[in-house]
C-alpha cells in the first residue's frame, strides 16, 4: 500500500508553515526508521486541483495543514475527514476546493487514495512574514509528529 504524507503551508508565513515543518521532520524520522519505501513525505505548497493531482497513484493520504476558525485553542490538533471540511462552495481557494477537486478527479477515473485523513493545527491568521512558528504552534509539532507516526504504524526506536 502506497501512502503519501503532504505538509501544506507557506514556510515563510509564520504558523501557516506548520505543515511544511512537520513534513520535513517526519521525513527524517521515517527514513531513519527505514520505513520510507512505501511512504512518500513532502511539503506541498498548493491547494485545490494541484493537491488532488499530487495524490494520484496513492492508496492512502495524510494531509497536514493549519486551520482557522474551528474555535479551539491555538495549537490544537484536529484529526479530520474530508466530510468535516466545509462544503465545496464555501471552501474556495483560487481554483477549486479540495473536495470539488477530488470529486473531479474521481469522475475522471484518476487513481485517488481510498482513505484521506487531515491533520489540522489551529492557528490564528497571521499576515506577517516570518520563518518561525509561534510558541503554541511550535509546541504542537512533537504531538503532531507522534500522531502521524502512529497513523503510519511506525514506532520510533528512540
Amino acid at each position: 500500500m502506497r501512502t503519501i504524507v503532504l505538509g501544506l503551508g507557506n514556510p515563510i508565513l509564520g504558523d501557516d508553515g506548520i505543515g511544511c515543518r512537520v513534513a520535513e521532520e517526519l521525513k527524517r524520522t521515517v527514513e531513519a526508521e527505514g520505513a520510507s519505501e512505501q511512504i512518500d513525505i513532502e511539503p506541498f505548497y498548493r491547494g485545490g486541483i494541484s493537491l488532488m493531482e499530487r495524490l494520484i497513484g496513492y492508496d492512502r493520504a495524510l494531509i497536514v495543514d493549519s486551520i482557522q476558525g474551528m474555535g479551539a485553542e491555538v495549537g490544537t490538533i484536529h484529526r479530520l475527514s474530508l466530510d468535516d471540511l466545509p462544503t465545496m462552495t464555501a471552501d474556495s481557494p483560487h481554483d477549486a476546493s479540495l473536495k470539488a477537486a477530488l470529486e473531479l478527479g474521481r469522475q475522471l477515473n484518476a487513481s485517488l487514495p481510498e482513505e484521506i485523513l487531515i491533520f489540522a493545527v489551529e492557528i490564528r491568521y497571521s499576515t506577517e512574514f516570518s520563518e518561525s512558528l509561534s510558541p503554541l504552534v511550535e509546541a504542537s509539532l512533537e504531538p503532531l509528529k507522534r500522531m502521524l507516526l502512529q497513523e503510519l504504524q511506525i514506532s520510533p526506536s528512540s
Binding site: 515563510i12 508565513l13 476558525g69 471540511l85 465545496m88
Partner: protein
C-alpha cells in the same frame, strides 16, 4: 443618517479572504462600498539582508498561485541589479517556461473560476456553480483536457525550472541549466496539443457565451463597464508579451500616452493611501489621483488580460491575432471597457501562450548550452517587470556592493487593479441593489462577478484550511441591529 450595512465575507472562489461592506442609505439604495482585503505585510522587510540571488526562490513563495511570475520578475530584477544581460537562450528558456505556466493558469481560471458564472449561469443554484457543474455540462472529456493541459504545463515547468511548483533555475545572468533535444521534442509535442486545447476552449466560449444573447447583453451592459486607462507589457512591435518589453499605457479613448521601461516605473506609477485599508492604490502619476472615478482625467488604471489587449496593437502569433481581431470586431472597437470581456481576453491569451510555447520550443537556439552569462559588475539597483496572469508585476531591488539587499519594493499584479475593482464592486452593487431589493444569493454572486473578472489574488500565500467560514451577508440597521442574514454554507 439612516444607513444599513451589508457585508459579504469572505468572498468565495478567490485566493485569500476578502470582505465587501455595502452601506445603504435611508432610501435603501447603495451609498458606498468598501472592498477590504487582509494584505500580507512585511515581505520587503523580511527580504532585507539576504543575497539578491535568493530572491527568485524566495519571492515565488509569496503566492501559491503564480510563483512562476515572481520567479521571473525576481530573476529579471536580479539581472538588472548585476547589470548583466542573459544570453538569448536563457531568455527564451524563461519565456518558454512562462508560456507553459500561462496555459495552466488561464485554463484553470476559465474552467474553475469564470466557467461557473458563464457555463452554469450567474443565478444557477450555488451547489452547481463550481467546476463540477461546468464539467457536468460541457462533458467529462473536457474535464480530462483541463487536467491534461495542467499536466503538460507542469511538465514543462519541471523540465526547465527544475521543480513542478516553485521553479529554481533562473539566476542572475540566465539559467542554471538548459534542455536536451529529447526534452525539446517532448515540449514541442505538448505545446502543439496545448494550441488545440486553447482553440477548443475558445470554441466553447463562442458556443456557450457568445451564442447566448443573455450573456452577451450581460457583458456589454453598463453594470460591469468602466472607461479607465490600461497598461500592459508590449514588445518592440507593440504586440502583447508576457516576459519582456516596455509597459504601454493607453488612455480610455484608446490613445497610447506613452511606454515606460522597467527602470522608469516610478516616473509613471504612484500609490494612494486610503484610511480604511492597508493596501495602497496605484495610479498613473502623470494623470493624477482624482478619486474612485473613471474617465480620462482620472489616473485609475487597470492591468489585466483585457488591459494587455487594449494596451497593445495586437498579438504576436497568428491564431491569437485572428481572435484579437474578432474580439474587437464583436465588441465594437478598441478599447473595450466591459470588464466581463476580460474572460474572453484571457482565452485569447491562452491561445497566444500556447502558440508562443510552440514557437520557442522549435527555436533553433533553445537547446544551446549558452544559457548563462557570469555577472562581473558590482551590484547596485534594478527593476524587473513581467506580466503576471493577474497584471503587471514589478520587482525593484536595491543592494550593497556585495549584492545584499538593502531595500525591496514590489507592485504585484492584483494591487494594480485595487482601485478599479473597488469601483466595479460599487457600480455592480448600485445597479443590483435598489430600494426593497431582497439581497439574495444570486444578487451577491453578480456583485462578486464584478471583481472575479479581475481574477484577483489577495493574501494569497496562505493555504490554511478555512474551518468554518461560510459566505455570510449581514444587513444592519442604523442601530447596528441585524435585520437580515444571507448565508452560503
Amino acid at each position: 443618517m439612516d444607513k444599513q450595512r451589508i457585508t459579504i465575507d469572505p468572498i468565495t472562489r478567490l485566493e485569500g479572504h476578502g470582505k465587501i461592506e455595502i452601506f445603504l442609505n435611508e432610501k435603501g439604495e447603495v451609498e458606498n462600498t468598501y472592498f477590504q482585503i487582509p494584505e500580507l505585510r512585511g515581505f520587503e522587510r523580511f527580504c532585507v539582508g539576504r543575497p539578491v540571488e535568493e530572491m527568485p526562490i524566495l519571492t515565488n513563495r509569496i503566492c501559491g498561485v503564480c510563483p512562476e511570475a515572481h520567479h521571473m520578475a525576481a530573476a529579471k530584477a536580479a539581472d538588472a541589479v548585476y547589470h548583466v544581460d542573459p544570453p538569448s537562450t536563457a531568455k527564451k528558456l524563461r519565456e518558454l517556461l512562462y508560456s507553459a505556466f500561462y496555459v495552466t493558469d488561464h485554463a484553470t481560471h476559465f474552467y474553475a473560476l469564470a466557467g461557473p458564472d458563464f457555463v452554469m449561469g450567474p443565478d444557477a443554484p450555488v451547489a452547481e456553480r463550481n467546476i463540477l457543474g461546468v464539467i457536468h455540462k460541457v462533458g467529462l472529456e473536457t474535464g480530462g483536457k483541463v487536467i491534461q493541459a495542467r499536466k503538460y504545463g507542469h511538465d514543462v515547468i519541471e523540465k526547465i525550472g527544475g521543480r513542478k511548483v516553485h521553479p529554481c533555475t533562473a539566476i542572475p545572468g540566465g539559467q542554471t541549466t538548459g534542455i536536451t533535444e529529447e526534452q525539446r521534442q517532448e515540449i514541442e509535442k505538448m505545446g502543439r496539443w496545448a494550441v488545440e486545447f486553447a482553440q477548443f476552449s475558445l470554441g466553447l466560449f463562442n458556443d456557450i457565451v457568445l451564442g447566448n444573447k443573455a450573456y452577451v447583453d450581460l457583458i456589454l451592459g453598463d453594470i460591469y463597464t468602466h472607461a479607465t486607462y490600461y497598461i500592459g507589457v508590449v514588445d518592440d512591435q507593440n504586440l502583447v508579451n508576457f516576459y519582456d518589453g516596455n509597459v504601454s499605457v493607453v488612455a480610455p479613448d484608446g490613445e497610447r500616452i506613452g511606454k515606460y521601461a522597467p527602470s522608469e516605473y516610478r516616473d509613471w506609477i504612484a500609490e494612494r493611501v486610503e484610511p480604511w485599508t492597508y493596501l495602497k492604490f496605484p495610479y498613473l502619476k502623470k494623470v493624477g489621483w482624482k478619486g474612485f472615478v473613471d474617465g480620462k482625467d482620472s489616473g485609475v488604471y487597470c492591468a489585466t488580460p483585457l488591459s494587455r489587449l487594449n494596451a497593445a496593437d495586437g498579438m504576436a502569433t497568428p491564431l491569437a491575432q485572428e481572435q484579437y481581431e474578432k474580439f474587437y470586431s464583436v465588441l465594437g472597437g478598441k478599447p473595450v471597457h466591459q470588464r466581463l470581456a476580460t474572460h474572453w481576453a484571457r482565452l485569447i491569451e491562452l491561445l497566444y501562450a500556447a502558440e508562443r510555447w510552440v514557437e520557442l520550443a522549435t527555436d533553433p537556439e533553445i537547446t544551446s548550452t549558452n544559457f548563462h552569462t557570469v555577472p562581473t559588475e558590482t551590484p547596485t539597483e534594478g527593476v524587473g517587470i513581467v506580466e503576471a496572469p493577474r497584471g503587471t508585476l514589478t520587482h525593484h531591488y536595491w543592494t550593497d556592493e556585495r549584492g545584499v539587499l538593502t531595500r525591496v519594493n514590489l507592485i504585484v499584479g492584483t494591487t494594480n487593479n485595487y482601485a478599479p475593482i473597488s469601483m466595479s464592486v460599487k457600480k455592480a452593487a448600485q445597479n443590483l441593489i435598489k430600494k426593497g431589493t431582497k439581497v439574495t444569493e444570486p444578487v451577491l454572486n453578480m456583485i462578486e462577478m464584478a471583481f472575479r473578472a479581475y481574477d484577483p489574488c489577495f493574501g494569497c500565500a496562505t493555504h490554511s484550511l478555512p474551518g468554518q467560514m461560510p459566505l455570510q451577508v449581514t444587513i444592519h440597521d442604523v442601530d447596528g441591529e441585524v435585520i437580515d442574514v444571507v448565508r452560503r454554507d
